[in-house]
Amino acid sequence: MGVTKTRDMDLLTRKYRTTEKIVGPLLFVERALNVSIGEMVRIVLPEREEKKGQVIEVSEEHVVIQVLEETTGLSIHDVEICFTESVAKVNLTPDILGRRFDGIGRPIDGMPDIIPERRASITGYPINPVSRGEPSDFIQTGISAIDGLNTLVRGQKLPIFSASGLPAKEIAGQILRQSMVVGEGERFAIVFAGIGITFREASFFIEEFERGATLHLSVIFLNLAEDPAIERLLTPRFALTTAEYLAFEHGFHVLVILTDMTNYCEALREVATAREEIPGRRGYPGYMYTDLATIYERAGRIRGAKGSITQIPILTMPDDDITHPIPDLTGYITEGQIVLSRELHRKGVYPPIDVLPSLSRLMNLGIGDGKTREDHRELADQLYAFYAQGRDLRRVASIVGEEGLSEADRLLLRFADNFEMGYINQGDTTRNITESLDCGWDMLRRFPEDRFSRVRPEIMEKYYAGTNKP
């Protein structure tokens, strides 16, 4: 076995042939000295073929390297490990807009490498909470279930909790088209990270960018389903480092789409298992919360900087289960969630957003007088209250029959149906915020005034009975 350290003519790179063990995506290299955590390595195969890897643990006995590509065909006696003395970095320049890269930042659009203005480590540093600016600008998505009830604001991270077969990407596409609308003198950019997605999904988004004439404003990082799984751990970080550069150094309002975070978490689990770590819930590592936070928290605004990062991560809830660790931990980090429902999808409702478990925590910062309209908060609360009651009554009605309900309850039951078909269901159309709010009031006018519990009298006067009545 080649366990002697060899030195090339090149004095700068240190090469080792002391690979001792290969477990799944991990290489264990013995007696490597002076190696730092996070350092990138080149793994050279006999035919001069090269793979990339990253150091994830160092000790006197061995260095653990996660291989960012397939380990198929690697054998411990003939691989050579070259340490680069550099952590994973992304090349940054304003010319990056319009370009397409693979999951670890290599161009795949047939164009030459970019000439960087500077290079930045993909892990970044945490934003000082004191320096954060408060997100406060309303983003109109054109979707009533979001604008009216779970408002998105600039600088927010709002994931879409999807499930297999539900149209998450269509909704993301719509948000994308709409959020481009920015104020005068403001600039907009998209950073897209495809994490283990299929070719079909990837081309959907690229066509979407082309259709919206935003391809020249977007930076695309693509790790497709057939690409190495471990690469997925780096893809969102490449994307977010690029986004931070565009937002906070060049003043762009950046919309970041990360899809699909479920694939990311699975890659995380794969590495953890190969390292024989103690598994947490459902085999995911105990540090998954912290790890996800280092991705999701890279959104927001910075005081004094013009730009912003708004994140729309998309994830697939395994088995439609919202308590699964992936959606669960995500929901604890992000500022709300948009939850898609199979039941609504079956009923033909588009977008099939179940508003009850959906939430936007930053909604209050982006709505109200001067932003959307003064009645927004109370209107949304009232719609929620009636809809929740109506949904409860469905259960009762399925047992005792509709006739068994009081007139008042039947009203709620009918409201729940109308609300789904008339308010949430809007097909391909977009509604501006006034249309969404008015549509909400149209729904509420089925109820007599004394049934309202969340709306102040002044607002009732003005919007329920007043001039806005059709």
């Binding site: 000295l33 643990e57 997100p135 770590e277 919360y289 912290t290 890279r298 929620y384």
Partner: protein, 569 residues
């Protein structure tokens, strides 16, 4: 003393040449001088948890042991500051290093150049011992900083200052030549000593109806607030920070969202304290370690927060510790334990989870600071818990439940229908015996009224189950009155909006009046039912409107208007 790094794995580092090191000693790691703490010693090697990102750290780099434990600085200037988990001043870091926090930052926690006006309360020749107050500083408009003799000092005052002082200046010199300075250091993991713990019979008033009326916690007690995501834990913690009756507030953002902290930092500085009329920040300390900041510092943040709290408690203040969330702290412990390859307990948490939680919650309490009992201070702990999947059977909730005196359980279903605060009246409880206080300070029949409300809600819930099974028609008329009244109480008494200028804070007098009005209304309803009226005639729109408007009436109007409202019903 120094050692050499032999292993790096995430936030833990192993070094050799550390034989002389002590447990929990503070060390500087590598050329970047990252801050770390020794958490295991085996022969010549020590395991260190690093409070900063280890990215780029190399084998063979040097470890410098300071020989001291992780300490925080105590002294004037704590109030209205914002610290990270290991008490680094975030505002100063932002001034020095722009918007991102780099690694290896070293700035003093407390301002070294600010002068404080010191007024002595003892004279040369006076005998003093540890914990005695020797002078006062007006730290902020609302809080007087009582300068205390540090632990381990005892003797006769030889000289005492009477001027404006810098924090490192000598404030007094004892006969034995030792000097006392304004600044003190204290190891965060060691609870500060006190003379005597006493049982508290005073409630921790929050201005939130469902809490004060149904589940009050004693001042010096501890409570957990478990809830799945989106149930309003953070909003509730922030509401408590604004309105809870307490002299000093320590708000610990432990592993939570950066944007929420941005919100706190934007609004808090403008908020007026409802009790003193001064700025709320004047009596608040923020300890913030967001989820993306280093995990080991998150573990320390809870200790940093409570130690600052104990310091003000020792001055004789009532301190509230609001921590959001303790689950993130437990997870930080789990992460570090995993890296140490310790044998895991339930759900991968370390075996010592329960004992660590217990020793944290036991730092709450009301204490006597002096032998004569003339100075008392308290620490009340309110911690949010984020159970995975909203399932309370998980180890953190269960371990915490065993040691805390109350639970305000947040309910996903209530939250989804936007019933806030989403505190479940069925699952929450409080073990504190505070009836006597309420009898003396609010009303004689308070405990009875409280029991009435609880039993009505209980009954309503049972009836709701029946309705779910066989429909509302099956209810008897009396039961229908219970259901309807219960509905009105849920909508108008239990719900309370933290964003409403009038209703966000509800004084005790108003809480009692509202309770009285609802119970009177219930009596009227029963009476009218007996007279043969049907429910639609009893629950008229006019009456519902009167009850609905109660929340939005200013607290000062009660109890003056109570009688009139009852008559209108």
């Amino acid at each position: 003393m120094s050692g050499i790094i032999t292993k790096i794995s995430g936030p833990t580092v192993v070094a050799k040449g550390m034989r002389k090191s002590g447990m929990y000693n503070l060390v500087y790691v590598g050329g970047m001088r990252l801050i770390g703490e020794v958490i295991r010693i085996e022969g010549d090697s020590a395991t260190i948890q690093v409070y900063e990102d280890t990215y780029g750290l190399k084998m063979g780099e040097e470890i410098i042991d300071t020989g001291e434990q992780l300490c925080i600085e105590l002294g004037p200037g704590l109030l209205s500051s914002i610290f990270d988990g290991i008490q680094r001043p975030l505002a100063e870091i932002a001034g020095e290093y722009k918007s991102f926090i780099p690694t290896g930052v070293a700035l003093p926690s407390l301002n070294r150049s600010r002068r404080w006006h010191f007024t002595p309360t003892v004279n040369p020749g006076d005998a003093v011992e540890e914990g005695d107050i020797i002078g006062a500083i007006q730290e902020t408009t609302s809080i007087i900083h009582r300068v205390m003799v540090p632990q381990g000092f005892r003797g006769i005052i030889k000289d005492i200052a009477e001027t404006d002082l810098l924090i490192e200046d000598k404030v007094a010199i004892l006969e034995d030549g030792r000097d006392i300075r304004l600044i003190q250091k204290w190891p965060v993991r060691r609870p500060r000593p006190f003379k005597k713990k006493i049982t508290s019979h005073t409630p921790f008033i929050t201005g939130q109806r469902i809490i004060d009326t149904l589940f009050p916690v004693a001042s010096g007690g501890s409570v957990i607030i478990p809830g799945g995501f989106g149930t309003g834990k953070t909003v509730l913690e922030q509401t408590l920070a604004k309105f809870a009756k307490s002299d000093v507030i320590i708000y610990i953002g432990c592993g939570e969202r950066g944007n929420e902290i941005a919100e706190v930092l934007t609004y808090f500085p403008e908020l007026i304290d409802p009790y003193t009329g001064y700025l709320l920040m004047d009596r608040t300390v923020l300890v913030v370690n967001t989820s993306n900041m280093p995990v080991a510092a998150r573990e320390a943040s809870i200790y940093t927060g409570i130690t600052i709290g104990e310091y003000y408690r020792d001055m004789g203040y009532n301190v509230a510790i609001l921590a959001d969330s303790i689950s993130r702290w437990a997870e930080a412990m789990r992460e570090i334990s995993g890296r140490l390859e310790e044998l895991p307990g339930e759900e991968g948490f370390p075996m010592y989870l329960a004992s660590r939680l217990a020793s944290f919650y036991e730092r709450a309490g009301m204490i006597e600071c002096t032998d004569d009992g003339n100075r008392r201070g308290s620490i009340t702990i309110c911690t949010a818990i984020s159970p995975p999947g909203g399932d309370f059977s998980e180890p953190v909730t269960q371990s915490a439940l065993r040691v805390t005196g109350a639970m305000w359980a947040l309910d996903t279903n209530l939250a989804r229908r936007r019933h806030f605060p989403a505190i479940s009246w069925g699952r929450s409880f409080s073990l504190y015996q505070l009836d006597d206080w309420f009898r003396e300070n609010v009303a004689d029949d308070w405990p009875e009224m409280r029991r009435w409300l609880m039993s009505l809600l209980q009954k309503e819930e049972e009836l709701q189950d029946i309705v779910q099974l066989i429909g509302p028609d099956a209810l008897r008329d009396q039961d229908r009155i219970v259901v309807e009244t219960g509905h009105l109480i849920r909508e108008n008494l239990l719900q309370q909006s933290p964003y409403s200028p009038v209703d966000a804070f509800c004084p005790m007098g108003k809480q009692y009046s509202m309770l009285k009005i609802f119970s009177r209304f219930y009596e009227i309803a029963l009476k009218e039912l007996g007279e043969g009226r049907d429910t639609d005639e009893i629950f008229t729109m006019e009456r519902k409107m009167i009850l609905k408007d109660l929340k939005n009436m200013p607290g000062e109007k009660f109890p003056a208007v109570t009688e009139e409202i009852m008559n209108r019903l």
